[in-house]
């Protein structure tokens, strides 16, 4: 597991105060919302805020794009990487 992915998993667990899951149980490619980890729309808001706080990422006002970024840990990691490169 790369450090960034682990960092993101821990960020999600801390942000949402998830108590029944640990970082090594979140699978990089699995959906975070609904089917996989089972997160919901309120969690999406919290994760959006956490991304901004931790990495300074501002979400674009395009719900579809945001949705794609939030698909999995892999997608989130790609978002953070590309943000780091362009800033």
């Amino acid at each position: 597991m790369t450090n960034l992915k682990l960092e993101l998993k821990n960020m999600i667990i801390d942000t949402l105060e998830l108590e029944d899951i640990s970082a090594d149980e979140i699978i990089d490619s699995e959906p975070l919302f609904v089917d996989g980890l089972g997160l919901d729309s309120i969690d999406a808001l919290e994760i959006g805020l956490a991304l901004q706080k931790k990495y300074g990422i501002k979400l674009k006002a395009d719900a579809k794009e945001t949705h794609a970024h939030f698909a999995s840990i892999n997608a989130l990691a790609a978002l953070v990487e590309s943000y780091k490169e362009t800033n």
Binding site: G38, L45, A61
Partner: protein, 565 residues
């Protein structure tokens, strides 16, 4: 100030070139809507008196379908979602499904060409059953609530009488029109007033911020779930003077959250109190701490009767006048709310019947009793305390508590929305009843406090005889004692075991002497995280000695005597 156009006459009275909405940055006019309605009427096999379910994520596509139904004397059923369970449930009560329902065919989702026939519209009668919305009742089963054309138009009149905002404001929203609050405030009110609305709703603060910055003036329709999570790192001062008002409903806003949103949006945060049954009933603006009370909308009255509190008004149906909230009247038209009278709660604005969830869980073959409650962490969450039967306990031994929780959660998925699924579980052998045989809310809440975990989770305690007690413990992996003891192979330190023995001993035997020394202490086999152990305590009051022994199916873990001065 422009007057409202009743929705019953909307197609007849609104001018063809009137801009109605913004769809993907393009203005939609009344004419375009009329054309679509006419086309739908030729395509759809509608006949008078039918009911059709309507779901569409685009507010104007949704509205055109609704208008086509009304023009053909058909009622629109408006479910909160378009998931398979909803389609199954509605199948027996509706003729068909319009809009975004992937599960059905034929699909009536879009129309490409429009008719060039001249339109002829009829005025909808006031008594016509225009829509049906759904809400979970105290049994948890969704029940239909009918709204007549008169109720819809009269409610809009009362709202307009209260807040006659400018028709120049653009209406932005974080709520959909598939629930009554969004339907009324975001869609119907905008249409009746001639205020431009955005056809898509916004999921994130960033969407709102970005959209709002494109317009001179806007009104935001939202909920506490969104307003308390507005991203304060965006430069909201850019929007200063643009927000005419923000209207919030679904649940009361906390005072602090109200101030927070008002500061970022530079606008009054106006809250609506009401329900799917009653529609809007009252409003408030908590700009100051002493303005936390609610004021009735124009044309609404509130009376206390022997059946409880009754609200009356032109848009409230006789069968929905009784309120399910505890009310404290302050004057003829103002009151405070003190929670529900039944076991319906709001979780992040979504309605949940705690009884229904408990009933669902108690149907499991592993659970004898279940209690559902709402705990507030970073968000509001549903939490469960459940008494397991032998089968359930066996499964926990074989797998883990976490495994069991995951199975139970999965089984609830078909009956509850994602936001409502329990996120915290405590499995106990007996629920924490007090001496009066009651189950105090504080004891249930206490099970979910996650300050540093220093104690085992008590499953049961048994009084064997005057000098002997037996405790059943679950040893949670979160215990601070496992930290670094040892890094890869955590085990419960001996000192923690003696500390617990002393703590629980003092609790049941009520001795006061100071700790002096340990005798005959043996640590035979280690205790691992996530395991169950029994602690047996025997106190000899004459010698001032407490004998302890930790045992489990694996045998004796440790034993010893603690001597007190």
């Amino acid at each position: 100030m422009k007057k409202l156009t009743p929705l019953s006459r909307w197609l007849l009275d609104v001018a063809g070139d009137q801009p109605i909405a913004i769809m993907n940055e393009t203005i939609i006019t009344k004419e375009q809507i009329s054309e679509k309605v006419a086309m739908w009427q030729t395509i759809l096999p509608l006949s008078s008196g039918q009911k059709w379910a309507v779901y569409h994520s685009d507010a104007i596509e949704f509205f055109t379908l609704i208008l086509a139904l009304w023009q053909s004397d058909c009622t629109a059923c408006v479910p909160g979602d378009n998931c398979t369970a909803t389609v199954e449930r509605l199948k027996t009560s509706v003729t068909g499904f319009l809009g975004e329902f992937e599960q059905v065919s034929p699909q009536y989702k879009h129309i490409e060409q429009v008719t060039n026939q001249p339109f002829s519209w009829v005025e909808i009668e006031r008594s016509f059953p225009a829509i049906e919305v759904y809400t979970s009742g105290s049994t948890g089963e969704p029940k239909p609530i009918k709204k007549s054309m008169a109720q819809i138009d009269d409610e809009l009149c009362s709202i307009e009488e209260l807040w006659s905002f400018s028709e120049r404001s653009i209406v932005l929203s974080t709520v959909t029109h598939q629930h009554l609050f969004g339907l009324t405030f975001r869609l119907f009110w905008s249409l009746a007033k001639g205020r431009l609305l955005l056809t898509k709703h916004s999921a994130f603060s960033e969407d709102i911020y970005h959209l709002a910055s494109q317009y001179d003036q806007f009104i935001l329709i939202s909920t506490p779930a969104h307003l308390k999570r507005l991203n304060h790192q965006l430069d909201w001062s850019n929007l200063q003077g643009k927000c005419e008002a923000t209207i919030s409903s679904a649940a009361p806003l906390q005072y602090e959250d109200s101030l927070y949103a008002a500061k970022l949006l530079h606008a009054p945060i106006l809250e609506i109190y009401g329900s799917s049954e009653t529609g809007a009933v009252a409003w408030r603006n908590q700009a100051k701490v002493e303005t936390d009370y609610w004021t009735l909308l124009p044309n609404i009255t509130l009376d206390e009767t022997d059946k409880g509190f009754i609200v009356k008004g032109p848009h409230i149906a006789a069968e929905h006048q009784t309120l399910s909230d505890n009310i404290e009247c302050l004057s003829a038209n103002s009151f405070r709310l003190h929670g529900r009278t039944d076991r319906i709660v709001k979780v992040e604005g979504k309605r949940l019947s705690l009884s229904k969830m408990e009933k669902c869980l108690e149907q499991s073959t592993w659970i004898t009793l279940a209690r559902a409650l709402v705990v507030t962490k970073k968000r509001e969450e549903v939490a469960i305390v459940a008494e397991l039967n032998d089968k359930g306990r066996e499964l926990v031994q074989q797998h883990s508590q976490k495994w069991l929780a995951a199975q139970l959660k999965e089984s609830l998925k078909t009956s509850f929305e994602l936001v409502l699924l329990p996120r915290r579980w405590r499995f106990v052998n007996t629920l924490p009843y007090n001496q009066q045989g009651k189950l105090p809310m504080e004891s249930l809440q206490a099970l979910f406090e996650t300050t540093e975990v220093k104690w085992p989770q008590e499953l049961a305690r048994t009084h064997i005889d005057d000098n002997t007690w037996r405790f059943s413990f679950y040893v949670p992996k979160e215990l601070i004692y496992f930290d670094g003891h040892f890094e890869a192979n955590p085990i419960l330190p001996g000192i923690a075991q003696t500390h617990w023995a002393q703590h629980y001993g003092r609790e049941v035997f009520a001795f006061e002497g100071r700790f002096n020394r340990l005798e005959a202490v043996k640590f035979q086999s280690v205790i691992f995280p996530d395991s169950e152990v029994t602690l047996e305590l025997e106190y000899n009051p004459f010698k001032g000695k407490l004998t302890f022994q930790y045992i489990s199916k694996k045998g004796v873990h440790s034993s010893g005597r603690i001597c007190f001065e």
